[in-house]
């Protein structure tokens, strides 16, 4: 699987990317004017999960490490925001940074334990670590509310309605997407791609591979945590399912459907999956079955994902 996951990582030229980026933002900015309120809320969810899936793609697509623990990192931030504001009475302006710090620390623990492994071992180790977090959220009910989770109307009044919150989310998404893009295009981001392609060569060039993977994992965790904090504001509710394995798998599938190693593909994947989920739910309860089928068809017919396949086709046409 890892070879499939690391295809199509060639990024487009900065100019193409800038045009694509500006066009997408303009399109997204006019959406609330044409969509009904319910769909604006779905669009908000798509953006938040797009950020989450991008944070997974940083590791999967650029460092060649597929994590199944990112749902736990994302959800921990959601828990901290909701607990902080709804239960501990903290101001939101304090709860959000605390949530990101918590997610970062958790990512650092995950990273310290997982970075020496590769492939399926990395997958299983991050999966197990995520399960531990899920178990804690389920059992430590004094703090987490157990299965009932934590509910609280924590969104400030001025962004209370779906449209204004959509714009807040869009603003955050633009900044964070840009930051993630800068990150993977930075000298450090290049070292992650180098590690993906050859660890032994990186070491003989003088790189401390473990240190780079650690920093890469933690940075990816910071972005996952920021997305999780936004999700707390969006959902006003958190329960163990937010940190569960399904969450990690959903994020990873979004990255895969969009195209691993394309970064922006994760947003497309998020759109495809959430739109499909909403559509399918009209007709059937069997969303997870549909999810499985989507994954199988993607792997068979477009293993490079939507954006990855577009790039492959375009490269073929240019000869």
């Amino acid at each position: 699987m890892s070879s499939v996951l690391s295809t199509a990582s060639r990024t487009s030229s900065p100019r193409t990317t800038a045009i694509f980026f500006a066009g997408s933002v303009a399109l997204l900015a006019i959406l609330p004017a044409v969509l009904p309120t319910y769909h604006v809320s779905v669009a908000t969810q798509i953006l938040i999960f797009g950020l989450f899936a991008m944070s997974i793609d940083i590791l999967a697509g650029y460092a060649g490490r597929t994590s199944l623990g990112h749902g736990a990192i994302f959800g921990t931030a959601t828990y901290v925001v909701l607990y902080g504001v709804a239960n501990a009475g903290l101001p939101l302006a304090l709860a959000i940074p605390l949530a990101v710090v918590a997610a970062t620390l958790l990512a650092a623990i995950f990273a310290a334990l997982a970075i020496r492994t590769t492939g399926v071992y990395f997958l299983l180790l991050t999966l197990a670590l995520g399960m531990i977090v899920w178990g804690i959220c389920l059992r430590w009910s004094v703090v987490t509310g157990g299965e009932n989770g934590i509910r609280g109307d924590i969104r400030p009044a001025f962004i209370g309605d779906a449209r204004s919150f959509y714009y807040v989310t869009l603003g955050c998404s633009v900044v964070l997407t840009w930051a993630m893009w800068r990150f993977i295009r930075s000298p450090f981001g290049l070292t992650l791609s180098g590690i993906r392609d050859s660890e032994s060569r990186m070491r003989s060039l003088g790189y401390n591979v473990s240190l780079h993977l650690f920093i890469g994992f933690v940075m990816s965790g910071v972005f996952a945590g920021l997305a999780g904090a936004l999700y707390a504001l969006f959902n006003n509710f958190v329960s163990p399912s937010t940190v569960a394995l399904t969450q990690s798998v959903t994020g990873l599938l979004m990255a895969i459907v969009g195209g691993v190693g394309t970064l922006f593909g994760a947003l497309i994947g998020s759109f495809v999956m959430i739109a499909l989920e909403n559509f399918v739910s009209f007709y059937t309860q069997r969303w997870l079955t549909v999810l499985g089928l989507v994954f199988i068809f993607t792997m068979i017919f477009a293993p490079a994902g939507v954006l990855g396949t577009i790039r492959v086709l375009r490269a073929r046409r240019q000869g």
Partner: protein, 251 residues
């Protein structure tokens, strides 16, 4: 007597009961060009891995530039001026030639930790990369992805990655393996043109190729040094011919 740059004292690498390298002691002097020859399975690449730190030796000592590096990880040895190429090309296949050079240039520079900066060439980096690429005749392939290079070009890039690190000791693991005669002569030419103050240790199967390039030859057999001599002496050495031609020892 010339100053030593690399000293091996009784180095052994054991994988379970198999002693792939079994008590090798030798000294490479600064500026020397040394070939490491021997039949398949003689322990040449394993010895390289012990020297560069990929597999730390199970016994003995490796002294490089006056410091004991026996337990040092590869990246720290690289920081002291040791560079290597790999027998099976070991490049960043999904990156371009230029990006490969960037990684090689920055292995020892703090710029590698720039999390949000631009990855483009900086300061004298472009000039250094260009010089190394021109030296290995890859000047025209800067923006090509490595997986689109021919095998010969990949071997040339292997060399460029090591050269751009400005090493004091360069270890080449069969730089001409699997190449066509034409590509081989390019690689030999490149090696011949390397600066004389760069110390070279070269693994090569093809004796004819090696003998014109180096000052001294170490012949390994079953993990031990069989002979260490000048190329001319090696050429006439009966023991070397025996291990290469497979003549029974007590015929």
């Amino acid at each position: 007597m010339a100053e030593s740059i690399l000293t091996l004292e009784n180095v052994a690498v054991a994988f379970g009961a198999l002693r792939a390298v079994d008590g090798v002691s030798t000294t490479v002097t600064r500026g020397e060009r040394r070939a490491l020859i021997g039949p398949n399975g003689a322990g040449k690449t394993t010895l390289f891995n012990a020297v560069t730190g990929m597999y730390p030796p199970t016994e003995g000592r490796v002294v490089f530039e006056g410091a004991d590096v026996t337990r040092m990880p590869p990246e720290k040895r690289a920081a002291r001026g040791m560079a290597r190429t790999f027998q099976i090309t070991n490049l960043f296949n999904q990156l371009t030639v230029e990006e490969n050079m960037l990684l090689a240039l920055r292995g020892l520079s703090p710029k590698k930790f720039s999390l949000f900066g631009r990855r483009d060439f900086d300061g004298d980096e472009r000039e250094r990369a260009d010089r190394a690429l021109d030296r290995v005749r890859l000047g025209g392939r800067r923006n090509t992805e490595v997986r689109e290079l021919s095998y010969g070009e990949q071997r040339q890039l292997e060399l460029a990655l090591s050269l751009v690190m400005k090493p004091t000791l360069l270890l080449l693991d069969e730089p001409a393996a699997g190449l066509s005669p034409n590509e081989r002569s390019i690689v030999v030419e490149i090696i011949r043109e390397l600066p004389r103050d760069l110390t070279l240790v070269l693994i090569e199967h093809d004796m004819d190729l090696v003998l014109g390039l180096v000052d001294n030859v170490t012949c390994l057999h079953e993990g031990r040094i069989l002979v260490e001599a000048t190329p001319d002496a090696i050429r006439g050495n009966a023991a070397v011919q025996e291990v290469y031609l497979g003549k029974p020892r007590h015929a």
